[in-house]
């Protein structure tokens, strides 16, 4: 077996799962490196099912999955010893205090009691619940509950944490704070797999993306590679018609949106634009590589 440090974070081969007649995951093949991974897809795309298969809660009906180099079906306990999980739905016992539950969550992962108490205190401080740690979880607001759920997911120092819709139900401020917390996890040596249907959350926190649609992998790769584009955006001061005509005459594809042009050319688009602007004597305000959002990509690929 490859050691956990050398292995890819997650690797699947022809992985599938079906709930009876309903096939939730179809032949998933992907390999992701350590880091912050975004798992995106619409509701019902199979994100939560994939996470449960990777945790060993659900058995694959075909294919295989390896997490941290460990075969999930063969050794689910081995996988769970190294991972944390923040489910989409609440997982908090309402009659317990945040401190007691976080200590218990650490002990459940095998951390000795004294160390569990220390870690629980540290992690609750980290997620911003230090002042509220002796309050009962049933008295917590939605945002505080999400933080407590994150605390239980990382209190045992996992190598990888699965976060299923971590910003669900949060107000904008709470959402920003949760994303900032998730962003910090990488600095602690914790790999993260964040599942979300809010694509901007993934763009804000992740450096690798797995896009699921209808239980199939739509796309997977580094975020910069996926959202990168071969087009260039130019915002003109005036004379857009002249510039468009000149660009098209030189073989470029041009899309005009008011004073903004999106240009795709076979040769270097920047050189071509410079030349055309000089020829037509047109002024510009801004010139940049086009950036596509995950939403653009999802809509493009999903509609194919």
């Amino acid at each position: 077996m490859t050691s956990a440090a050398e292995a890819p974070l997650i690797a699947t081969r022809q992985l599938g799962h079906a709930y009876g007649e309903i096939v939730a995951l179809h032949h998933l093949d992907f390999t992701v490196p350590p880091g912050r991974i975004g798992l995106v897809g619409a509701n019902g795309a199979g994100k939560s099912t994939l996470i449960k298969v990777l945790l060993g809660i659900l058995d694959p009906t075909e294919g295989e999955a390896r997490v941290l180099g460990i075969d999930v079906a063969a050794d689910p306990i081995g996988v769970r010893a190294h991972v944390g999980y923040m489910p989409e739905e609440s997982c908090l016992p309402l009659a317990q205090t945040a401190a007691d539950f976080t200590v218990y969550a650490a002990e459940l992962a095998g951390i000795p009691t004294r160390a569990a108490r220390q870690r629980a205190s540290d992690v609750l401080t980290l997620v911003g619940l230090h002042e509220e740690r002796f309050r009962y979880l049933g008295e917590f607001s939605t945002g505080m509950k999400q933080r407590a759920m994150l605390a239980q997911a990382i209190v045992h120092d996992p190598q990888l944490v699965f976060l299923d819709e971590p910003t669900a139900g949060l107000d904008p401020e709470g959402r920003e704070e949760m994303l900032a917390l998730i962003g910090r996890l990488g600095g602690f040596g914790i790999n993260v797999l964040v599942s979300s249907h809010v694509l901007t959350d993934i763009e804000a926190t992740c450096d690798w993306v797995i896009m699921l649609d209808g239980g199939r992998v739509l796309r997977t790769g580094p975020l910069t590679g996926i959202t990168g584009s071969d087009s260039v955006d130019v915002e003109l001061i005036d004379g857009a018609d002249r510039v468009v005509a000149a660009l098209r005459a030189k073989g470029a594809e041009v899309e005009l949106r008011g004073k903004l042009l999106r240009i795709r050319a076979d040769d270097d688009a920047f050189d071509l634009i410079r030349d055309v602007l000089a020829e037509t004597g047109t002024g510009m305000r801004r010139l940049s590589q086009s950036a596509r959002t995950l939403e653009d990509i999802f809509l493009e690929d999903g509609s194919r």
Partner: protein, 309 residues
């Protein structure tokens, strides 16, 4: 990881330092499944007894325990009064009540205790989604079910055994030859107490566990459990007495009578128990029913939680 910039007073003199300790990785030991099992047992005992919970969660279990202790206090107190104050030489044969009578007296309180404890152990975990946390930890289904059953055994077993042992020690102090002699001369009662408690625990705990596995709310679960335990006895007795032949086996479904019969057998008493005794069944039949109930509860639990953990 230790980061931070020491604060100074502007003249370069260091006044103190504030350090953000950040996140500390855990380099110590990990206890694996054994640690998870023990933590689940400890949490279960605390949950049953309301420890580290709000006051209203503590009220019922401790009130019931206090009620279960009342007969012990009465018996030991009366024995002390008779033996020491009236010098009536009660000796080892206590005229007020012995261990079997104490089991009979506490069994109805124990029934209410298990009605509260079984559902309390299982329902909140399932309804509040806490099973997701167990599912992400190095535990198997058998670990979870086994740990919860062990927690019930410790808390409910203690509920039965502690009053008995207090009576055993209390009466030993009144022994004519000294308390130690009293302990030694009645040492044979201890294994009997433990065995009888085990059968009460199985007979009352297994159905409570079963109800807890399926009910979604605590209140209805308590009601269903008490109804099953009390009505099963009434129906079983009625059916067995109204029928003959195969119908007499219905008497064995008297769930709350079976452990009484086993307890009588362990303490070598012959007490007529309506239904089972009159149907002609010996104590081994009751042992079989109780053990079977425990096994059914275990296997139903494994099957039920296979889809949840």
């Amino acid at each position: 990881m230790t980061t931070g910039t020491p604060a100074t007073n502007g003249t370069g003199t260091e006044q103190g330092a504030v350090f953000d300790l950040g996140y500390q990785p855990h380099d110590g030991p990990r206890l694996g499944r054994r640690g998870a099992f023990l933590a689940t047992v400890r949490d279960g005992v605390r949950r049953i007894l309301g420890i580290r919970r709000k006051a209203r969660k503590k009220l019922m279990p401790w009130l019931l325990f206090a009620i279960a202790m009342l007969p012990v206090i009465a018996v030991v107190g009366l024995s002390f009064f008779t033996d020491v104050l009236l010098d009536a030489q009660v000796g080892n044969d206590n005229p007020f009540a012995g261990h079997p009578q104490l089991f009979t007296l506490t069994s109805s309180v124990f029934l209410i205790f298990t009605a509260l404890a079984g559902p309390e152990l299982l329902i909140p975990d399932r309804v509040e989604g806490v099973l997701s946390v167990y599912a992400s930890r190095p535990m198997r289904i058998t670990d979870y079910i086994g740990a919860r059953a062990t927690a019930l055994a410790i808390a409910a077993g203690g509920f039965l055994v502690v009053p008995q042992l207090v009576m055993y020690v209390g009466l030993a102090t009144l022994d004519d030859d000294g308390w130690f002699s009293g302990l030694v001369s009645n040492i044979g009662d201890v294994p009997k107490i433990l065995f009888a408690s085990l059968f009460y625990l199985l007979a009352y705990g297994a159905p409570a566990f079963l109800v807890g596995m399926f009910a979604k709310r605590l209140g209805p679960a308590w009601g269903v459990y008490l109804a099953v335990m009390l009505l099963s006895t009434a129906f079983a007795v009625a059916i067995s007495e109204a029928t003959s032949g195969v119908g007499r086996y219905a008497a064995l479904a008297a769930l709350s009578i079976n452990p009484d019969i086993v307890m009588d057998w362990i303490f070598d008493r012959s007490t007529f128990r309506e239904g089972i005794t009159s149907a002609g069944f010996g104590p081994l039949w009751s042992v079989g029913v109780i053990v079977g109930l425990g096994l059914v509860s275990w296997f139903v639990g494994l099957r039920k939680y296979r889809s949840l953990l």
